[in-house]
């Protein structure tokens, strides 16, 4: 007995759909890649995943980041199947970003700021993944981290995460203006400014009672300034123009240009954002509660 015509039609339609879907898989959506590149810049991914100082290939890893817990080396996140993310699926990527877990379930070190990235929206994650799939694969092996005991023991990170990590997408606060919410999303979810600008607690989590108040012990031992609107110790006296200039160009009000890690942030991230987004970041920073914290200058 022959199957009814309607069943044949259904099978044909499904086959067509499958062919179409696999074609879409083979060719990443150009629009998603374009949007993903913007998210990639906003997230500052290039910095930690590229060994710029030693002329490393983009996103092939190897960049050292000295922290109080040891020195971490950013991994290769190009689509290389052996050393990069070539064998990852989109859901593997989402799991790493949102839950700080590798595809095999092991905890990722929070030097990879999933505490911030967990807030990134589904759409932005999808586009970011499309962009990461589009970059050239580079077969650079990863360098193992050099972390002091017991911080290098991945299962212990479960306790760290229980103390310091709350997974979940960013939720805009309906009581705030739209630009403040957009700025909050950029600062907290993508650009992860607090990872350096917020002082840390004993366990290495962010001290949420002093958000963005700066610290003398930032990454690579750098002094990180207070960016709350406190008039004496923060950015309270900076005009919108001053703040836009430091984000866009790295220029501070005395005519100097920032170097060090913020120089890198300007080059990779804030210098590449749209004006509207920079204004949103400024609006958000100005809306923060001022924290009186004079970060001491380093004595040399």
């Amino acid at each position: 007995m022959r199957p009814p015509r309607s069943v044949m039609a259904l099978v044909a339609a499904m086959l067509l759909w499958l062919v179409g879907a696999s074609a879409a898989l083979a060719q990443p959506d150009a629009e998603a890649v374009r949007r993903g590149e913007y998210i990639f810049n906003a997230g500052g991914c290039l910095g930690c995943h590229t060994d710029t100082k030693n002329n490393g290939a983009p996103l092939a890893g190897g960049r050292a980041l000295a922290t109080p817990f040891g020195t971490f080396y950013g991994p290769n996140i190009t689509p290389d199947p052996d050393h990069g993310l070539g064998q990852w699926s989109e859901s593997d990527f989402v799991r790493a970003m949102r839950h700080g877990e590798r595809p095999d379930g092991a905890n990722l070190f929070p030097v990879f700021p999933y505490t911030a990235f967990t807030r990134i929206t589904d759409a932005d994650l999808r586009n970011l993944w499309a962009y990461l799939r589009s970059v050239p694969a580079v077969a650079t092996p990863n360098r193992p981290h050099d972390v002091r005991f017991p911080f290098g023991v991945r299962p212990f990170l479960t306790i760290w995460k229980w103390l310091n990590f709350e997974p979940g997408v960013f939720r805009p606060d309906p009581g705030r203006p739209a630009d403040v919410n957009r700025g909050a999303y950029l600062v907290e979810a993508l650009a992860h400014c607090g990872e350096c600008h917020t002082p840390r607690t004993m366990t290495g989590g962010l001290d949420t009672s002093r958000r963005f108040a700066g610290t003398a012990d930032g990454p690579d031992g750098e002094r990180v300034p207070n960016i709350t609107p406190h008039p004496a110790t923060g950015i309270g006296k900076w005009s919108t123009g001053d703040l836009l200039d430091v984000l866009k160009l790295g220029m501070v009000p005395d005519g100097d240009f920032v170097g060090g890690s913020m120089g890198e942030v300007v080059r990779n991230t804030t210098g590449k954002l749209a004006d509207g987004d920079l204004r949103a970041i400024v609006a958000y920073l100005k809306s923060l509660p001022p924290v009186d914290n004079q970060v001491p200058r380093k004595t040399r």
Partner: protein, 153 residues
């Protein structure tokens, strides 16, 4: 013979000491010179900022003056960083990496030179829009060096 040998050795020691002393003076003078140059750059950027932001009206004289400062210091930059004028020679924010990556440092300083010369040309031509568009390009060359070659402040 012994006397001559002794004299020669003594002369060599004196000459060596003099050369070292001169190098030290040079290094100290270079540190001062580049600090003055960087201060002048900061002053020039400060003078230009309100004009570029549109907070103050276009002023060609200010633009030419400030851009001249930038273009002149840019030409002087590699010269005020002689070998041996790093932290070993005195109080300086210059990192030893400058001399370990001299060709990169030089190419970055050449970028500053080229972009600030362009800025000066635009100022002299009275091209307000072009000047304002060139300003951030010059600014990025400042940060380009500070990122890797200056002690983080």
């Amino acid at each position: 013979m012994k006397l001559r040998f002794g004299l020669t050795m003594a002369l060599a020691v004196v000459a060596g000491a003099a050369a070292i002393a001169e190098a030290q003076t040079n290094a100290a003078a270079s540190i001062t010179a580049r600090q003055e140059a960087m201060k002048a750059n900061g002053g020039a950027m400060r003078a230009l900022t309100p004009i570029v932001r549109g907070e103050r009206p276009w002023n060609q004289q200010t633009a030419v003056q400030a851009a001249t400062t930038l273009a002149n210091t840019a030409k002087a930059v590699p010269g005020v960083f002689p070998q041996g004028s790093g932290p070993e020679a005195g109080k300086t924010d210059a990192l030893p990496r400058i001399w370990q990556n001299w060709s990169d440092f030089q190419s970055k300083s050449r970028a500053f030179e080229a972009e600030s010369a362009k800025l000066l040309q635009l100022a002299q031509a009275g091209d307000e829009a072009g000047f304002k568009a060139q300003f951030p390009i010059v600014g990025r060359t400042c940060g380009g060096c500070h990122e890797n070659y200056r002690v983080k402040k």
